[in-house]
Symmetry: C2
Subunit: 533 residues, 2 copies
């Protein structure tokens, strides 16, 4: 690939985008053929295959999407990002979650600091700390070894790490990698902390306070609840907490914590599972070597995403198919449907990753956009979803594109035959059958039993869900969101939309504390809910 | 209200609907005023208030929505349904979940059977059974009392009961109502059952197999896994299982179960928490009196929903606002945002309830519709969601109407002050502030920090989440979905859209077992995923 100047332009200023709308649309049911199943499959790292046989594309549309990817310089922008370009334009920050997993380009130095060395150094500090906890060199305030790790964090400090822990628990059991239980406290609703604390032996619990700024309201409130409980149980809370924070936060080098592990402004919350935010809890729970494998799987996917041809680059193609569905076919939401109970909370992580990154109405320079950006993302594991919202997906008035995920093998061994097949076979049969059912539909004399079909999907299929595969999935969706953000010409790395609520909540708290306010509506709302006379 | 003939007509055949589109739209930010907060609030049973101060309606639109509710005879149709009219037109069945909670009309007799007496009789049998388990009169195969109840079911046999158990666990702890732990196995992925079984003492576990037909593939596969584990542990599995099923199913009166409790075809899966489907597990976990209170709360809401004026009938208004947002304002999805950790899985229940009921493209007589029906429904508890997908809700290119739920009090007592306020106050302050932020927005010289506002929401606010309040919430959303289904002239009570997938999955299983197939695409899919050479 020849090096070229990078140019930023809105999607609707691209000549290739204008051409795209004029290309005849594809009949999804017709594209799903035996030959198509073979042709429309891309081999990916860590044993994954990406199948787009049921996607709404043909060769002409693929050519046009390739032209758009080229015109918007998606891979070049990715290389620039990985090399340390200031891609978070709103906050004027680098975007370096890829660097936490491995080098895609040369060294990235900022403020005289080699950032790869910084991330790698923190990963080693975390690994040494986890080893010391596992060996009993670091113990609780009564001298007992720690048995449970409890993450206190919200948003990106919760969703990705929690989804990862749930995803690897069965695998770790089978592989004898589980070293500690992990639990998560996130909501400021005190019933959340109460529920988690009620099931714990505090004497053997190690809490991980995660807040980049060290000022997150919910996380600090939960820290207070936890410290109160620890002290009430006669424990020294400073011997039961560690912090994951930035070097300049009030939590850093603070005697209230056993240790502090550091993150920086160049890895956003929703991208931070690859940093100490995910590293501490996953290394404690499953061992540092497991977390290292997660990073290796993610890095392998990151490297594969550098390929310029979307016929060979699954994530680039996945991103472009999503854009085509959103902007040309006008579909406002996307369902993520993992046929893997371990991925039960992966859709909740993706909701943040995708909707917080690409739910934007202005371009990277702050100018209003005239086209749709990020869709609504939702999902639940299959086959559960089949007995729930799939009715609407099959026969509703709107078409929702679907992203299936599946595996060939169980995480743990306990399976059994019933009615002649294993549960694993039933799970896979349902997944594959749904793709066909959605795409092809079925005619019926009874209109109530008719399926119009034409409902597009893609499939990520892997061998078995372990740390490398999980890291690969994290990378896949991060890079999908990144490529789409580049195509839409937005900044996928800030989140100004959360600020107004914070400001008004603090105003509301002042009103509840009896302070006068000039905001009559806030006062009326507090009154309505019985928080004022 | 004068009795009138009931007529069924499509929404777009209603003169009141045609008028609705011509009424000027409301500026949501302007409608949210101190006076509006007071005026736009409806008192509901069980201490709830419904606030529509931030909804996109004014008096003119309310009048038009009332006219539409009247023209579509929503309350009359509800009365007919409760009286035993054959409202599930596709399957030719009555719709009687209301009757399981109390009488709204006269007796409902079908096939010579008084159905209220049947539901009430089963509730009493369940209560007696639960009392016998609690007293130790019924014990496991080794003579030990049961300590855990494990529901095996999928879809409606899982989502509503599971959401309910999670919702009441903290409350039960505080009120000393918890009698047994409960767990849930649903997915055919064997890692689901494995995960639940790994954390159980099988000797003291009682399994509840829930399948109306007694033939649900996933549930029977999980039963096999569970029986294998019980037998491997030297236990007599027939002394550790009960069944919830129909009187004609293979699970009824079967010596493989301690007992069978009965349901019928007139209460659909997604409406079945009020039947033995929810009754057995909730009565075992929290005592039969708690389940009775759940039913009382639901019945109180059912009764309030008979009021013909939508200015006094919160659920009727809620339904019509949702329809206005969907059909007039053209908004394709809705977020449900409970500011209550106990309601963590309530959105997953609502996803099934709403999307499976109203995700239809034909009317109750099977004719294709030319307007949108049920929206995509998704949600997560606040404040968690604020740190996740709210970015898109505030600043995305699409507007998503929001349904907030909140409470004034904690379920359990453990709260603490931090930064001068309790966690409860912070939770409520965030909820109320979000409503204001979404509606009014905020201008800013920096377009990246600008909030356009005009994003509508409604609020269900209660005192404290307990069984009556939970029953009330279940009823509210069931009746909302019912009223919308009547307005759209669809059958909200069948789910033909799930059938095709089942048929193709069974075909796929035959292929995996080596049978020849004429379906080359299914065979190609199986090959793609490595299930065939």
């Amino acid at each position: 690939m020849e090096r070229s100047m990078i140019t930023y332009r809105n999607l609707d200023a691209c000549s290739s985008y204008k051409r795209l709308a004029g290309i005849p649309r594809v009949d999804v049911g017709a594209a799903l053929s035996p030959e198509g199943c073979k042709r429309c499959a891309i081999a990916m790292p860590e044993g994954f295959t990406y199948s787009y046989a049921a996607a709404p594309v043909d060769e002409a549309i693929l050519d046009a999407l390739q032209a758009l990817a080229d015109e918007q310089q998606l891979v070049e922008k990715y290389v620039a990002l990985a090399s340390g370009a200031m891609m978070n334009t709103g906050e004027k920050r680098l975007v370096l979650h890829h660097l936490a997993r491995g080098k895609l380009a040369g060294a990235v130095v900022s403020g005289g600091k080699d950032l790869r060395a910084f991330y790698e150094g923190e990963r080693k500090r975390v690994a040494e700390f986890a080893a010391a906890v596992h060996s009993g060199a670091i113990v609780g305030s009564t001298g007992k070894p720690f048995a449970a790790a409890v993450q206190i964090g919200i948003g990106g400090s919760d969703l990705g790490p929690r989804a990862s822990y749930i995803a690897l628990e069965r695998w770790a059991k089978a592989e004898k990698r589980q070293r500690m239980e992990a639990r998560f406290i996130s909501n400021v609703d005190p019933d959340d902390a109460d529920s988690v604390l009620g099931g714990l032996d505090l004497e053997t619990s190690l809490f991980i306070l995660v807040s980049k700024s060290g000022t997150t309201q919910e996380t600090l409130a939960n820290e207070t609840l936890v410290r109160n409980r620890l002290e009430a149980a006669g424990l020294d809370s400073s011997k039961h907490l560690v912090a994951v924070t930035s070097t300049t936060s009030p939590l850093a080098q603070n005697p209230g914590y056993i240790a502090s592990f550091f993150i920086d402004d160049f890895i956003g919350g929703r991208y931070s599972t690859s940093s100490a935010v995910g590293g501490v809890v996953l290394s404690l729970a499953f061992g540092p070597e497991t977390f290292a494998e997660f990073l290796e799987g993610a890095h392998a996917m990151d490297a594969a995403a550098l390929e310029p041809s979307l016929r060979k680059n699954a994530v680039l193609l996945d991103a472009m198919i999503g854009l085509y569905e959103r902007n040309v076919l006008g579909m406002p939401s996307t369902a993520v449907l993992p046929y893997a109970e371990g991925l039960a909370r992966f859709p909740a992580h993706l909701q943040q990753l995708d909707m917080e990154s690409n739910g934007k109405s202005v371009n990277r320079d702050g100018q209003p956009l005239a086209y749709s950006t990020g869709p609504v993302v939702f999902g639940e594991p299959g086959t559960n979803g089949q007995h729930s919202f799939y009715q609407l997906l099959h026969q509703g008035t709107d078409i929702v594109p679907l992203q299936f995920i599946g595996f060939a093998e169980n995480q743990h061994s306990g399976d059994a035959l019933s009615m002649g097949t294993s549960s694993r076979q039933k799970l896979a049969a349902n997944l594959l059958a749904q793709i066909v059912a959605f795409a092809r539909g079925k005619d019926d004399a009874n209109p109530n039993k008719k399926f119009s079909g034409g409902r597009p999907s893609t499939l990520l299929f892997g061998t078995r869900l372990g740390p490398r595969q999980l890291g690969a999935l994290f990378s896949h969706f991060e890079n999908k969101v990144m490529f789409q953000g580049f195509a839409w010409n937005i900044n996928s790395f800030d989140q100004e939309g959360v600020q107004l609520g914070k400001v008004l909540a603090n105003k509301m708290l002042s009103i509840m504390q009896g302070e006068k306010t000039d905001d009559a509506v806030l006062a009326a709302m507090a009154r309505l809910a019985g928080f004022l006379e």
